[in-house]
Symmetry: D2
Subunit: 353 residues, 4 copies
Amino acid sequence: MKTKKELLSNTIQPIDIMQHNVVSLVDAMAPMAYSSRDLARAAGLFEMMVRDTECGVILCLAGSLISAGLQKLIVDLVRNNMVDAIVSTGANIVDQDFFEALGYRHYIAPDEYKYGAHDGELREMQIDRIYDTFIDEDELRICDETIHQITNSLEPRAYSSREFIAAMAEYLDKHGRTPKQGQPDSIVWACYEKQVPIFCPAFSDCSAGFGLVAHQHDRQGKPVVSIDSVKDFYELTQLKIANPTTGLLMIGGGVPKNFAQDIVVAADVLGVDASMHKYAIQVTVADVRDGALSGSTLKEASSWGKVELTYEQMVYAEATVAFPLIAGYALQKNAAEARKGKKLAQVLEPVTA
Amino acid sequence: MKTKKELLSNTIQPIDIMQHNVVSLVDAMAPMAYSSRDLARAAGLFEMMVRDTECGVILCLAGSLISAGLQKLIVDLVRNNMVDAIVSTGANIVDQDFFEALGYRHYIAPDEYKYGAHDGELREMQIDRIYDTFIDEDELRICDETIHQITNSLEPRAYSSREFIAAMAEYLDKHGRTPKQGQPDSIVWACYEKQVPIFCPAFSDCSAGFGLVAHQHDRQGKPVVSIDSVKDFYELTQLKIANPTTGLLMIGGGVPKNFAQDIVVAADVLGVDASMHKYAIQVTVADVRDGALSGSTLKEASSWGKVELTYEQMVYAEATVAFPLIAGYALQKNAAEARKGKKLAQVLEPVTA
Amino acid sequence: MKTKKELLSNTIQPIDIMQHNVVSLVDAMAPMAYSSRDLARAAGLFEMMVRDTECGVILCLAGSLISAGLQKLIVDLVRNNMVDAIVSTGANIVDQDFFEALGYRHYIAPDEYKYGAHDGELREMQIDRIYDTFIDEDELRICDETIHQITNSLEPRAYSSREFIAAMAEYLDKHGRTPKQGQPDSIVWACYEKQVPIFCPAFSDCSAGFGLVAHQHDRQGKPVVSIDSVKDFYELTQLKIANPTTGLLMIGGGVPKNFAQDIVVAADVLGVDASMHKYAIQVTVADVRDGALSGSTLKEASSWGKVELTYEQMVYAEATVAFPLIAGYALQKNAAEARKGKKLAQVLEPVTA
Amino acid sequence: MKTKKELLSNTIQPIDIMQHNVVSLVDAMAPMAYSSRDLARAAGLFEMMVRDTECGVILCLAGSLISAGLQKLIVDLVRNNMVDAIVSTGANIVDQDFFEALGYRHYIAPDEYKYGAHDGELREMQIDRIYDTFIDEDELRICDETIHQITNSLEPRAYSSREFIAAMAEYLDKHGRTPKQGQPDSIVWACYEKQVPIFCPAFSDCSAGFGLVAHQHDRQGKPVVSIDSVKDFYELTQLKIANPTTGLLMIGGGVPKNFAQDIVVAADVLGVDASMHKYAIQVTVADVRDGALSGSTLKEASSWGKVELTYEQMVYAEATVAFPLIAGYALQKNAAEARKGKKLAQVLEPVTA
């Protein structure tokens, strides 16, 4: 039986898409069929929405993507002004990106572990498994505790997840965990610098939740830091109102997909005649036939008045294969050349008074 | 082309599982293979967890289930003391269950609509589509507005979604929309009467979000009602601590699955030596191979220390077929005969002072 | 580690659907959504095609269905005149049905075997695995050898798979492996008695192939028994011409689906103005998005002129759950009451001169 | 409404993978997760099996791959001695590759056609649809008729599909449809030139079936050309015996997968102590949970003694995206540099006396 040290020895290496030319490959997929054609069309739509300097690009992230090696790709999009807001599951931002920013890593699981034959042993060793990837649970607990400390340092009141994540970025800066200080870049930090707001509408549903619960438990009835998911929704809606032309690049479905689509309706509820999302792409393997949101088509979303029909594309592919090709295509074609950072975080109230 | 009235003429009819004996059918599936065998084992595990009077049963709901005809099934489980807490997406509870409690219905879409060929026309008619089901968007807007009114009636402070949903139940009572007043039963109301807490950890990600955002927008900087997702997590963790033996019946994955599994870790973070969930069942068609949470196995959850390995079962089946068989099996075998309602809502702080 | 005897101790038990009333359950699914509604419509269509006494019902079988406990269900359909021809993969008919008729059984694999963690050990013990089911390879080799003997007993010439399968039925009779002789019923035998032709268009792609190859190898260049897949196609086309109204009940996709659909075109090629299949049902979990035949919709088949659009239904469900409900519904409603066996095997040339 | 001419105006363009460097991209996927890691490992295994000059590489093709733009990729593998035998569905070889060799093309279907909303109109126009691709049925009928003519030109006897496909290649040569005559290359022709045998174990289950049935119908009881699927199996087994080290590259599942795996057992039945397939790769999106062959793991195949466990890899991806990356990787790394064509067709009896 392998030791914990042996099991946690091969690290996941994020892809650096700028090292691999994908433009001609993706172009060659356009006149093929099935996923290749859809992927090529999606890449073209992503290029188009980035070239549309009016367009606020909202990147939605569901699934365990950072642990799978997609962190650098997302950082590259942010650093190149190709993403103006992010809506994500908490796990991607806290348990995985912030966790890596703290200096921890994800590990490649040997193949025989991925079907669950050894999960009892992993439990004994405090190794957490995400399909074919390992995490050191002891390190994850330090991440939880770091969130606890950040929470304790904040003035008690209701925060949006965006505000809280900005405080996480400040923590990284204070503790020397940013590129300025010779450390690797992270989504949390890059977005902070570029003023790209990050929203996690189910923020307590991740490592952050543990730290926040610990905080509220400590406070014994005294005023607490709370995370107001309504504030998230209100803030994201304000961004839609401030920047009416929008496009969605959705990796996976779930809450981020629904939440980002819903802001069109929310703006309408607030009395603003908001346009539907002009562009929409979703990469997913979820099936449409169970009626759930994650696999529902973008045409279905158009019946709700959320997404326009002209520039939408579903791509049936697993994200680690498709996302680098789609994002790399627009990156390598310099789609963002005329684009300046929209700094949408400035639209919202300042994080600290 | 059909008119809106024609399109909204065939209503979805919730299944009344007590009218159909499923016990022998499910027993016959046990010595078969694939989904039938897994479904039969899951039904037996659900019976076992309900017979275990120590066990607090947590029902997790993701996907559009109420609109698909599963409302009465869930009400039956609640009324029979077979569910002690619910964790759900907001859509099931607000847009669908509360919406139906207000007197509105879901409609059967003709087959030719389900692949999106007519979504542009639906948009014109204000008909929203969920795969093969229609909703009158005008009615949904009234539901949003009702949430707005309820929010305005509450004292400004941070609420858990559980508290807010209790206020929704009180609204139904005040407005004559409960069985006492000759109206159909609903999950929101049945849970209120039985003191079964309902949590929607991403509460603003549904019809509720629109009403809540409208409220915060109205308030122009004055104190607001906020929804604290940390409070949700803290409350659900308190239930785990108060009732250490727990079982999960998960329909779909997403946030409800993750959230309910995580309370074991949260209890541990609070210094309580909490046991893993003793029983766990998940019904899903999500694939395991994209590494996302929804399709991740319960064995994987055991590596995280969340779920015990002895009594866990994944069932690969679409929920409208599998859930009535699993729940009906335990219902018809009177698994709850020795069971009294745990009234877990009483464990938590009173909603109104 | 378990012994071979321990591993091969729990037998698969075929479902006897007549013991479980499913009619009201299926009717209750009709006004729901997703798979339940589709399943109910499919059950109604199957009832309709059986009530249509003009209609020749063709049952298509792909996937390992007999090993999964569906043998008796299919025998019941045959015995009740509800199936007039079968098109199947070879595995279902030879490795599984004929194999069981020889007195062998399939076994329930413990859960920990189904993800492949112990396949090396199974190999050592000569246990073959089909997902969650075990087969004794020694017994399967006897089945192969039986086919070898049957082949050797036949006059050397080209046979359709239908002819060969009829010879397999005669073997069962001669060796006392039929209900007349106190042994369990089988699909091969029931079809022989009811003169329901069975076609396996890729007949050598199963246990039969091993026996047939051994035969041709023995013959050292002398005239051999050969299996002419063209003859299969020609014979099935003749049935379509002889009985123009046809309906397809397809469990899974693959070669049986394609083959049975194609006879409409083949009749046309032979100069007969054949009508498309009037009814068509397919139960499958295959995804449409990879463009493969197994998951392709029946609407797509209508573009090829193979299937009419009026009475077609895809059902997204695993077969062991859905097929008993669909078939049981028509059986229990006595859909076949006015139906006599069509004895389509009589249309074709006699098996033995 | 669009005319037939308008609908058949955008042709599918096969990918020329040598124009796009994929090596560094695939290498970068190796230390990621999910499909990317599996795809990279599969590419490395394919390189390894090609570098193993002892290894006879068997390419298995299921699904509509040629119509999707994968023809040139497969031709490139054949021309570079990287494939020594092909096992395929009939559609890929006859309806699609031979059809293209005759000068016909496949067409890109507009997006709104791919969900079946217009299949009735397509039927009227004699346009056949494969998901998002169109075929001119009039041209396909000419292909059927060409097969009819080829069949009529052959001496009546039992043929393996391999022999028949060789005759198709000769037809192309005689009718000026090869690169020598300035026409595009095809799989049928390239394999003929390179003496790479092609097997379609369910040969009548495609366009070929129509021509062959017409032939047998014409003959009115006189001796006919028949297609002996046993001969296919026997021939492929002989190749295994003649070249004991083998590797499988399987695109999709179905009959080709099963057939190619089974030759290990067939060799054993013939008394030859054949080794299992040393290498095995499968690209598929089929789910494992329905127990069907297409999605069954290669570990499961090892329980049957068909595939070794050391060098096997399943890749969860749609073929048009994954196959070019896997094949291109080995091509661009010159994996075949020490490889000479094995000319396995020479092992088998000559096609014509």
